[in-house]
Amino acid sequence: MSVVNEQQETPQKTAASVDPLELSHRRPDWSASQPMTRTQKIVTVALLVALAVAFAFFPQKTAQVLIAVCTFFYVVMTLYKFIVIRASLSPNAILRFSAAEIAGQEPREWPLFSILVPMYKEPETVKQMVASLAAMDYPADKKDVQILLEADDAVTLAAARSLTMPPGFRVTEIPESFPRTKPKACNIGLHLAKGEYLVIYDAEDLPEKDQLKKAVLAFETSPANVACIQSRLNYYNPRQNILTRWFTAEYSAWFDLQLPGLAALGAVIPLGGTSNHFKTRILQELMGWDAYNVTEDCDLGVRLGRAGYTTRMLETTTWEEACSVFKFWIKQRTRWQKGYIQTWFVHMRDPLKLIKELGFVNFLHYHLLIGGVTFSVLVNPVFWLMALVWFVFRPEGVAQLFPGPVFAAGAVCLFLGNFVFVYINLLGCCKRKNDDLMWWALLTPVYWMMMSYSGWRAFIQFFRDPFVWEKTQHGMVKKQGGRPAAHT
C-alpha cells in the first residue's frame, strides 16, 4: 500500500478548506463509507442460504459441525490469549524511559508536538482539559494544541472562548457536515497540525506529565517503520461503582498485558482511542482517519500495518474517566463493537491483498483480534445457554451435539478458557496495584454478558445504522461528586 498525499501545505489552510473525508473520496476501498461491498453481501447471503438448507436437511449434523467449528475457535482463542500474555512478559514488549533518562536529555531542542482534542458538548471538561495539557512537561512553545469543536456546539465553543488559552493552544471550529464523527474532526485537525509528531487526547484525559517527552524518545530510539506509539490507558475513577471496577480490570488487562504482548509479537495493534502518538507525516500519507468508521483508531492500526508500519507500546499512562452508567456504557461498547465489525469488513474486501500486505501471521492476528473478539461476544450467549441447560436438565439432545473429542475440547474451553480470561483481568488489576479490584474481577463473567448484549446491539446496528456515533457521556465523576485523583 503506497499513498502519496498530494495536498500542498499552504499558509492559508483553514478548517473549511480541508477535505475531512479525503480517505473515503480518494480510496473508497479503504473506507467504511460502504459498510459491505456487493461481493461481501453475496457471499454472506450465500453462506446463510447454505446454512439454512443444511439445517433443513441435516439438522443434527449441521449443528454438530457448527459447534465443532466454534469449539475449535474457542480453543484457538484461549491459546492465543495465553501466547499474547506470555509475550507481554518479554522485555521488548513495552518501551520504558526513566525520569533520569528524560532529565539526561536536557538541554535539548524538543520537536514541535501537535495535540488534538476533539470535543462535543462537553463544556464542563474544557477547563480541566486545558489545565491538564498546559501542565504537561513539554516546552510551551513546542506545543501545538488544537481543541476541535463542532460548529453547532455552541455551549462548548462558548466555554472554550471564555477561557484565556495558554500559548500554543487554539480552537478549531469544525464545519457542519455528514458524518458527524470524531475522526472527521481529527482529520481537519491533522491537516492543520504543524508538529512533527501528533497525539490525540480526549477531553477528560489526564496524561502523565512527561508523556510527550517519552513519546519523542520512543520515536527517536525506535526503527523508522515505527509510526505510532501507544500509551497505556487507565481510569481515574475505578472505585466509583461496580461497572467502573470491571471496566478498570478490563482496561488494565488490555493496555498493560494484551497490547504489550501484541507489540512484542509484532502484531497489528488495534489502537486505543486516545493517547496514540503518530509521526504526522506518515499519518497524513495515510490520509488520517476514516470518518465513516466508528472505531477509526482500530481501523488506523490495521492500515498502519498494511502500509508496513508498526506500533510500539510506551510505559506511560493517560488517565481517563470510566463510563459509570450502564446505559452509556452499553452505547459506548456498541460503538466499539460496531466499529470492529466495520473494520473487519473493510479490510476483508480483498483477503489475498490483505495477506500480501500484512503477512500471514499478522493476517491471523487481525482475524483473532478484530473478527475473533466480535465473533466470541456474539456466540458466547448460545454456548452459555447450552451449558446452563445441560447442567440443569441434562437433556440427551445437547449431549448429542458434542461428539467425544468436541465434548472434551468444549469442556476444556468452558472450564479452562473462561478461567484464563477472568485470570487475565485479575493479573491486570494486580499489575496496576489495584489489589482490591481483583475480587471484583472474579465477577467478570457478568460483564461478559453485558458485552454480549452490546455485541448483538452492535451487530444489528451495523446493518441498520452503520454510521451512527453513540457518543460516550463524560463528566459523570464530577456529577456524582467524585474527583479525579492527582497524577504525575
Binding site: 447442567f391 473429542p405 489489589d435 481483583m438
Partner: protein, 494 residues
C-alpha cells in the same frame, strides 16, 4: 549487539529445540527397546477410547478417581483421536518428554545461567531416566508430573528470590495442573501454591499485598478443585466420588491425611531462610532475597517430595512413589544446575548424581500385563457367557476394566465405572447380566467398586453369584427374576 542476538538465538535453539528433541527421541528409542514404557499408562488409552466414542463411562472415568488423574488422559486424548495405537502412544511419549526438557530450560534459565548448563541439566535428567531401571519412571504420566513439579518448584523458588509477578502466575498455574496429575501430588501441588503469599512476606512491600499474591497464587488451584467437584456431582452424582476411595484404602484416613501434612514441615526452614535473606537484602539495600533463598526452597521441596513418598508407602498406597522419587531427584538436579559453579564441576556433580540415583531407584520392574493376556481374558469370558446365553452382557468394572477392553472389538463385554446392580437390572431387563471384577491388588484397590462393595472379589455381594475365575479376574452373575417373555419361552420349550 548483533553478535549477542545471534548467540542468544543459537542458545535458544539449542536449549529449547535441538537438545530436547534429541533427548526425547533418545528416551523414546530406549523405552521402546527396553520394555514398552511409551504406554500411556494402564488406563489412559481405554478412557480415551470411551471419550472419543462419547460414552458416559468415558466421562465418568475421566473425573471419577483421584488415582487415575485426568491430566494425562486429556493430554493423551488428541493423540488417541488423531493417531492409531501404538503411534499415538509413541507421539505422546515424545511430546511429554519434550515438555519435561522445556520445563528444565525454564527452571534453569530464570537464574540467567549459560545455555550449556541447561543442556547439561537436560542431558543429566535423560540419563537418570535411562539408568533408573524402573519402567514407571519413563511413563507419560510421570513425565507430565515431573515437568509440572519442576515448574511449580522453580516458580516458587524464583518468586521467593526475585518476586516477579510471572512467577506467581507460573506457580499458581503449574500447581493447578499438577493437582490434575493425581492424589500422590495433591500435597506437593498444595505446598507449591500455598506458600506463594508467605514466601513474599519477608519484604514489607510484598507483605502489604498479601491478598493479591494469595488470590493469584491460590485461585487456579481452588478453581481446579471446584471444577473437579462440580463435574463429579454432575457426572457421577456425588461431588466427592473421586476421593471416596481414600476411606477404604487406609484404615485410619484422618491419620493418613494428617501424615500428608508432615512434608510441609520440611519447607518451614526454607521459608525462614527466605525471610532471613530478605532481611539481609533490606539491610544491604540489595533489594531481593536472591539465589540463596531459591536454593533453600528447591532443596526443601525435594525433601518434601521424598517425605511424601515415605508417607504414601507407610500407609500402603505407595504404588506411585516412583513418580514422587523422579520428581524429587529432578528438582534436586535443577537446584544443582542453578548454582554458580564452573561448568566442568557442574558436569561432574551431575554425573555423580545420576550414578547415585540408580541406587535410589534400584527396584524391581513393574509387571505390565501384555495385550495378549488381556485378549485371552476377554475371549474366555465371552466364550463362557455365549455358551450359556445369547443375551448375556458382561460389565467389566473400573479403570482396570477399561484397560482390559482396550483391544476388544466385540459387544458382549462393556465397561462400567460406577456399579449399581439395581440400576443394571432395571436397565437391562430380560438379559443375563454378569460382572467381571479385577483382583484388588495395588492400585486396583482404589477402584470405586471396592469401596462400594468391599468384599465383592472374595464373596460377591447382594444379587451377585460367583461364576468363574479368569486369570486375575472373577466373573459374577447377576441374579434376576425372569421376565414374562422368558417364562413363556421356557414353557414353550418344555
Amino acid at each position: 549487539m548483533d553478535q549477542d542476538r545471534k548467540t542468544y538465538k543459537l542458545v535458544r535453539l539449542l536449549t529449547g529445540g535441538v537438545t530436547p528433541v534429541v533427548l526425547a527421541a533418545a528416551l523414546l528409542v530406549f523405552a521402546r527397546l527396553y520394555d514398552g514404557s511409551w504406554e500411556p499408562g494402564p488406563q489412559a488409552a481405554g478412557i480415551c477410547r470411551e471419550l472419543i466414542e462419547g460414552t458416559t463411562e468415558g466421562r465418568q472415568a475421566l473425573f471419577g478417581s483421584c488415582w487415575v488423574a485426568p491430566l494425562p488422559v486429556l493430554f493423551y486424548l488428541p493423540f488417541a483421536w488423531l493417531l492409531p495405537e501404538p503411534a499415538a502412544g509413541l507421539a505422546a511419549f515424545f511430546v511429554a518428554w519434550l515438555f519435561v526438557f522445556w520445563a528444565v530450560r525454564e527452571a534453569v534459565k530464570a537464574t540467567g545461567q549459560s545455555g550449556w548448563r541447561i543442556v547439561l541439566a537436560q542431558a543429566a535428567i535423560a540419563a537418570m531416566m535411562g539408568v533408573s531401571g524402573r519402567p514407571q519412571a519413563l511413563q507419560i504420566s510421570t513425565a507430565l508430573t515431573a515437568g509440572l513439579v519442576l515448574l511449580a518448584a522453580a516458580a516458587l523458588a524464583d518468586w521467593a528470590a526475585y518476586r516477579r509477578l510471572r512467577d506467581v502466575v507460573a506457580a499458581g498455574a503449574s500447581g493447578a495442573f499438577l493437582l490434575l496429575c493425581g492424589f500422590p501430588v495433591f500435597g506437593p501441588a498444595g505446598l507449591a501454591v500455598g506458600l506463594v503469599p508467605f514466601a513474599a512476606c519477608g519484604d514489607r512491600e510484598s507483605r502489604a499485598r498479601f491478598q493479591a499474591w494469595m488470590l493469584l497464587g491460590w485461585l487456579p488451584l481452588v478453581y481446579t478443585v471446584g471444577v473437579w467437584v462440580l463435574l463429579n456431582r454432575l457426572i457421577l452424582g456425588d461431588p466427592l466420588f473421586f476421593v471416596r476411595s481414600l476411606g477404604h484404602l487406609v484404615p485410619h484416613a484422618s491419620l493418613f491425611l494428617l501424615g500428608l501434612l508432615l512434608p510441609a514441615l520440611a519447607l518451614l526452614p526454607a521459608l525462614a531462610v527466605t525471610w532471613a535473606c530478605d532481611a539481609r537484602a533490606r539491610r544491604t539495600m540489595a533489594g531481593m532475597a536472591g539465589p540463596a533463598a531459591a536454593s533453600a526452597i528447591l532443596i526443601s521441596f525435594a525433601v518434601a517430595l521424598m517425605v511424601y513418598a515415605k508417607v504414601m508407602d507407610a500407609f500402603g498406597t505407595g504404588w506411585s512413589t516412583v513418580t514422587l522419587h523422579v520428581c524429587a531427584l529432578v528438582v534436586l538436579m535443577i537446584a544443582m544446575a542453578r548454582l554458580r559453579q564452573p561448568i566442568y564441576r557442574l558436569a561432574g556433580s551431575l554425573g555423580l548424581f545420576v550414578w547415585l540415583s540408580t541406587f535410589w531407584f534400584g527396584g524391581v520392574a513393574r509387571e505390565v500385563a501384555s495385550p495378549a493376556v488381556h485378549e485371552d481374558v476377554c475371549q474366555s469370558v465371552e466364550s463362557y457367557v455365549n455358551a450359556r446365553t445369547p443375551y448375556g452382557r458382561v460389565f467389566v468394572v473400573g479403570y482396570a476394566g477399561l484397560d482390559l477392553l482396550r483391544g476388544y472389538a466385540g459387544e458382549r463385554l462393556v465397561p462400567n465405572l460406577d456399579l449399581h446392580i439395581g440400576s443394571l437390572r432395571r436397565a437391562y431387563k430380560g438379559q443375563n447380566l454378569y460382572v467381571l471384577v479385577p483382583d484388588p491388588k495395588g492400585a486396583v484397590r482404589a477402584e470405586s467398586v471396592f469401596w462400594k462393595y468391599p468384599d465383592i472379589y472374595e464373596l460377591g455381594c447382594d444379587r451377585l453369584l460367583f461364576a468363574e475365575t479368569f486369570g486375575a479376574w472373577r466373573l459374577f452373575e447377576v441374579v434376576t427374576a425372569p421376565t414374562q417373555e422368558q417364562l413363556d419361552e421356557w414353557k414353550k420349550a418344555r
